[in-house]
Assembly symmetry: C2
Homo-oligomer: 531 residues x 2
């Protein structure tokens, strides 16, 4: 569950490669001397200096990787230019607002009708506290950040197959899981049936830990009690004056806890990349791309569709067409090239790189994912249900509902993330026209929040395989493709180096794109100045 | 750990009383028909109407309980007046800012020297999402709220007796606890040694749950691995390009996990009253009191020290002295009285209530607690350590360090909550003069953040037993005193009713004060109109 694409990623593949990559042993050694586990490979801003006079770099793509490259290489003294397919900066760093239009493959055009100030982040939507590289650029560019609420005990966990399809509060699901796990283990400890040798003293300490952690009673049982209700909630919570006496709730049975399978969701915020504290830009994730675009100004040439990339001993030439004005193909030339075009698109563009890099580009499929944003007339999740931000998990195809982490307590409208799908569900959503995706998200959501039927107003959706400029959500490496191709897609090929989330071990995260870019331009700069 | 005063509270006492209080059975029945466990006894704003023409209520104390009473009774048509000992509204709802002065018992005066915009909340500092009553008044009064970060995986858990006194990241402590608990139980499940009958199919599902939740390997062992590091952190986290290969961390041993006792803190955010999402007012908790004070205007008479409270068949008379202007004692008279003076103070004021209420007032000791705020020249916890909000737990007498949940990423100064103590530690802190408390908080904190030595600038501290107007932090009920006196302190005695956190089952929380007040004035109004 570490990645944005939990179903598709294999971290194990990374470890199988450790040792295969030369040159980082020294860094590991340095890390080992640090007091703590490092929380990021980004330790300080990159500071490239001494670009050869007059040397130039052409950058393909004005997503985060491309814009970081342009910003830092420009600072280092290179002449930089970006060619960007779209009419805006940011790439997958993107927010859809009212008044925007978006046309996906298949020709379906959406006129976004959200109210002012409301938005959907079709791509990235949250930034972990340890994604220091992207956070650095937010600070540098003055992008204001606010907390993204990842863990909300008032949100729901929902299964159509458990508890009659009735959503359960996160707090009760976690409490019951913790409670029964603690009870089952405590009984074993008491009866000295542990599989490994544990001293009597340690068993006593462990029992003490389990009782507190699992809210067990004095007999190490997880039962209806003050302590258990103080985790899972009350029927009548403690109050004031004569209305104060609380009544406890009944835990579900052990069997229902096990078979309900709601435990699948309660560890979801324990994974490294979604551990609190998390952040989001005020006003939408797209604020980062916008700020970068403003900073770079005319360095970015928009509406430039690259049709061919050629390198020779003197430099790199990209052929492109102006998608707005049309006309004859034009060319852009530079000494070097940082290419951030997604492999899914790049594999369809003629490029004369060596066989290993070409094979890497062609070997990388892109993951399916779809999101649906739903504008509601009223923030009923807050007003009726006391849910402020956070995520409801469901086994329906929409996978989750996320509540906005901004505008808390404001009366009025709000946009829910009504679906965020991966894998087969995403493929299914992608196959539907936009209005059907939205209708489905409303249908599924209404099984959790009946208010949907009354309050739904308008929606927006992006299915990433229908996005013309990425043809998928993110690079979908497997253990095998990583082993076969990852080093090749990283390597500088002649005068061309690749960057982007697909050239990282943090796929589908902005941090992967930024770190990949920093690594790529660091190596490229070194190659240039050292010859 | 449910309350602000974990060491002192006993929720069990509440349950022993269920059934003793008449008249709420109907409400329980109504609750039981609801779809979910209720998250608050506050369901809708109170709406009292039909106050007898010319009837009046005298309110003692302009804390939250008193101001809620004044606001709602005033709306209902009563003539209301508040007598307040201090020169400001809010009571324990209070923030200390630069320029403020504060003199505690013993004559120690502090001139607060925090920079503009920085503050310490000596009393309440966070509002759970289900404290609907206080949240209602925040909305009503236009008090802007922002998220309070309760759970931060990057904060520390620290014991002077474990791991050489080196603080551990919350993420690694939780991961190792979860991992070993899952492993120990999984082994038992595999060997069919569970204490209770569980079907083979359920055992399989449980194993699957434990593996995922505890980050176990395929043999159900918690070991150094990709999955475990994806919880507890990496030595070299996954990155971009050729700097991307992660290296895992080593879990601590089972024995060290057990004996280190850091597990005491990892469940601390699972308790009902600190379950996320939580909030704080922008600019300090005291903004609520200020907003109420502004709303009530001249209804509050400040600097009025009540010296006697007398009731007879015609009404209630409070004698008070003006602590600023001095002069002869004055009186305030009304038909009825809502008294929110803390029992600790009230027990020293002559009041002619019946023996049961007097006994209740006299029977209630107040808990000890102390806080220390420390201004640092630089937000090193964010800049150096990636800690944004949240809480570090320590077994030192300062108990915890909490990082500000506001001004994230702003360069410059910040105020840490450097100590928040209860029980014996609080008594010890209270015995020290303020500058010594501050020095101790710096000394303890420096064992966790060595930067303290360089960055500490100025502090402020409040030890609640030295606060002249409360003589303690909050009412400290025991099971026995609750059973003997709680109903008596709630009951209307002649023309007087009590309100405040001490007249609630949520002691030390603002919600208790507000709910207590709503319950009290609801009953008082009913008594008045029904005769």
């Amino acid at each position: 569950m570490r990645d944005e694409l939990p179903a598709l990623m294999s971290r194990r593949s990374l470890f199988s490669m450790i040792g295969k990559t030369a040159g980082i042993a020294v860094m590991y050694e340095a890390m080992a001397t640090m007091a703590y586990a490092a929380d990021s490979t980004f330790r300080q801003p990159i500071a490239l200096t001494g670009a050869p006079k007059g040397s130039s770099v052409l950058i393909l793509g004005a997503g985060l990787a491309g814009m970081v490259a342009a910003y830092e290489l420009g600072k280092a003294g290179y002449k930089v230019q970006i060619l960007e397919y779209q009419g805006r900066p940011g790439g997958r760093n993107w927010s859809l607002y009212g008044g925007d239009t978006y046309t996906e493959l298949g020709g379906f055009k959406q006129n976004i009708e959200f109210d002012k100030g409301l938005y959907l982040n079709p791509g990235p939507w949250r930034i972990p506290h340890h994604h220091k590289a992207i956070l650095h650029y937010c600070q540098l560019l003055g992008v204001q950040l606010e907390p993204f609420i990842q863990i909300n005990y008032a949100a729901y966990v929902h299964s159509t197959k458990a508890f009659g399809g009735k959503p359960q509060r996160y707090r009760s699901v976690e409490a019951d899981f913790d409670g029964y796990v603690a009870e089952l283990l405590a009984k074993t400890v008491q009866q000295d049936k542990l599989d490994r040798p544990v001293t009597k003293e340690d068993r006593e300490i462990l029992l003490q830990a389990l009782r507190g952690w699992g809210a067990l009673d004095k007999n190490y049982a997880y039962v209806k009690s003050e302590d258990a209700s103080n985790r899972r909630g009350f029927d009548h919570p403690p109050g004031g004056g004569l209305d104060a006496m609380p009544t406890p709730t009944d835990p579900v049975s052990l069997e229902d806890m096990i078979r309900g399978r709601l435990w699948r969701s309660i560890g979801s915020s324990k994974a490294y990349d979604v551990q609190q504290t998390m952040f989001q830009p005020v006003g939408g994730m797209g604020m980062i791309g916008k700020a970068f675009g403003k900073e770079l100004g005319e360095i970015i040439r928009y509406n430039a569709k690259v049709t061919e990339i050629r390198q020779d001993k003197r430099g790199v030439t990209a052929t492109f067409v102006d998608t707005l004005k049309g006309g004859a193909p034009q060319t852009a030339h530079a000494d070097w090239c940082v290419c951030t075009i997604p492999a899914s698109v790049l594999s369809q563009i003629p490029i004369n790189v060596g066989a290993p890099m070409k094979a890497a580009i062609d070997a990388l499929p892109y993951a399916a994912s779809a999101k649906v944003g739903l504008q509601m007339k009223r923030r009923f999740w807050e007003e009726d249900e006391g849910i402020y931000g956070g995520i409801t998990y469901t086994d329906q195809p929409n996978s989750m509902i996320s509540y906005p982490s901004t505008d808390f307590f404001k009366r009025g409208k709000g946009v829910l993330l009504g679906a965020y799908t991966f894998g087969p569900n995403a493929v299914e959503f992608t196959a539907m026209p936009p209005e059907e995706r939205i209708a489905k998200a409303v249908e599924y959501g209404a099984n959790i929040h009946p208010q949907y039927r009354e309050e739904f107003e308008t929606g927006a959706t992006v299915a990433w395989h229908r996005v013309p400029w990425t043809l998928g959500c993110a690079g979908s490496w497997t253990e095998e493709t990583r082993a076969a191709h990852y080093n090749d897609i990283c390597a500088i090929d002649g005068r061309i180096v690749m960057a982007g989330e697909h050239v990282s071990m943090i796929p589908a995260w902005q941090e992967g794109a930024v770190l990949s870019s920093l690594d790529a331009i660091g190596r490229l700069h070194k190659r240039i100045v050292q010859g």
